[in-house]
Symmetry: C2
Subunit: 261 residues, 2 copies
């Protein structure tokens, strides 16, 4: 997120706030088409970096366009307390699904059930993860919203129901591996459960962004969707904050605040 | 396939031929709803076990309902000389795709290009498989019709294009493993290529069977789809013939003929 301090574009004025995929830089010159204006300052600005920004769009479109949860189905989401996962779970609840979140540590799992209203939260850092997951999905899994990958997800795949859908948003557990990490190949699982698995990048759903942002803003204003944020202060905190995405030490959307505003 | 020798069902007469998933048994009593009549004896009966039977339905529905190949796209199929794969490749050609078949040995690869009209055939049993595959798909892969699984398919996945589709029909290379065989996990590949992978069993597409069988019969009668068969004679050949499915020693549809007819 950035503030416009000089503009040659008709649709941006000095003082406007914009979001975009921007470099870690204090002052930048950017093509007006590469940034999006923030409609109002009525809600905290950081919401436009989480539930009302790309993470919210990613949650909304991946869950609803690929996962298509139905009333009474079981939805599992990994990295469930994160900026994307937390919104996925809350939308799935709104759609009438039973929602199981996977996260690491007591603080995050309690947040999922106590604050966000998930039905069950399972701690992947505990030794009894596989057992607790099995107990959490007595009717199997209809939608698994995949953010994490790795051994965690291998356990989830064991419980896929017939015609399950798996939107694959990311595999953050594996991004820092120098070699491909090995696991059970997925083909037999997909045939047995006649399941669909689809990788996506949010940009492919740009036609839905307007609908998604309006709907999300409505749910936020009605208190149906809550959004957590971890704010670190100061430009020099950027590397530390970035590393937290991989260690799991952040909570909700990781934001670095570089200005008083 | 069986011949009706006694019938209490209105729609079956003595002398009719039927197909179905039936046990290895010389005389059986079967529910009339579990078998399908063969419309005519104008074509060789074994075609109702291959291109005009379940393998043909499997090829047609998986390719067209999940793979959705478009004119000019590249379609790769594994177990390409088999009862399903050979039909997949020929339908993809009819739809205007560039078709690459993967099979084992000179005889099968030559059959694909010389008889069935595939654009390229790649021999997975040769040491240069990975290299030859790469050369065979200079524009990447848009549809991979998966019959085989294992290390062979890991190589194929390296070449998936953006928005590729992977109908997963089977993973015959792994069925006899007692433990899950390990390979690179698929999540990162799916996200990078925004690809769709979907396991299916032909029964899910039963609504399309009528359309599929009529279209396939038309293509067969026009000479656009050819079908190969390996016939072993004698009821006692069943176990040997079954094992050939896993060793790759059959050619096209494996049939055991137990009667003169």
């Amino acid at each position: 997120m950035a503030k416009v301090i000089q503009s040659e574009a008709d649709n941006f004025n000095v003082g406007d706030y914009v979001t975009g995929v921007l470099p870690w830089q204090k002052i930048i010159t950017v093509d007006a088409q590469k940034v999006n204006p923030i409609p109002s300052k009525e809600v905290p600005l950081y919401l436009y970096l989480s539930v009302l920004g790309m993470p919210g769009m990613t949650a909304y479109t991946g869950l609803l366009e690929i996962g298509k949860p139905k009333q009474g189905e079981t939805v599992v989401v990994s990295a469930a307390s994160g900026a994307v996962g937390s919104v996925v779970g809350q939308i799935a609840k709104i759609k009438g699904a039973r929602v199981v979140g996977i996260a690491g540590g007591d603080e995050k799992t309690s947040y999922l059930t106590d604050t966000l209203g998930f039905d069950v939260a399972v701690d992947y850092k505990r030794d009894d993860f596989a057992e607790k997951l099995e107990q959490a999905v007595p009717d199997g899994i209809d939608v698994y919203y995949e953010n994490v990958g790795g051994a965690l997800s291998d356990e989830v795949f064991k419980h896929l129901n017939q015609f399950a859908r798996v939107p694959v948003c990311g595999a953050i557990s594996t991004y820092n591996n120098t070699e491909a990490e090995l696991g059970p190949r997925i083909q037999e699982t997909l045939v047995k459960s006649q399941a669909l698995m689809q990788g996506f990048v949010v940009a492919q759903f740009s036609d839905y962004f307007k609908e998604a942002s309006e709907q999300l803003a409505k749910w936020v204003s009605e208190g149906k969707i809550k959004s957590e944020v971890t704010i670190d202060n100061g430009f020099n905190q950027l590397p530390t904050a970035f590393r937290k995405l991989f260690s799991g030490d952040n909570f909700g959307k990781q934001v670095v605040q570089v200005s008083e505003e």
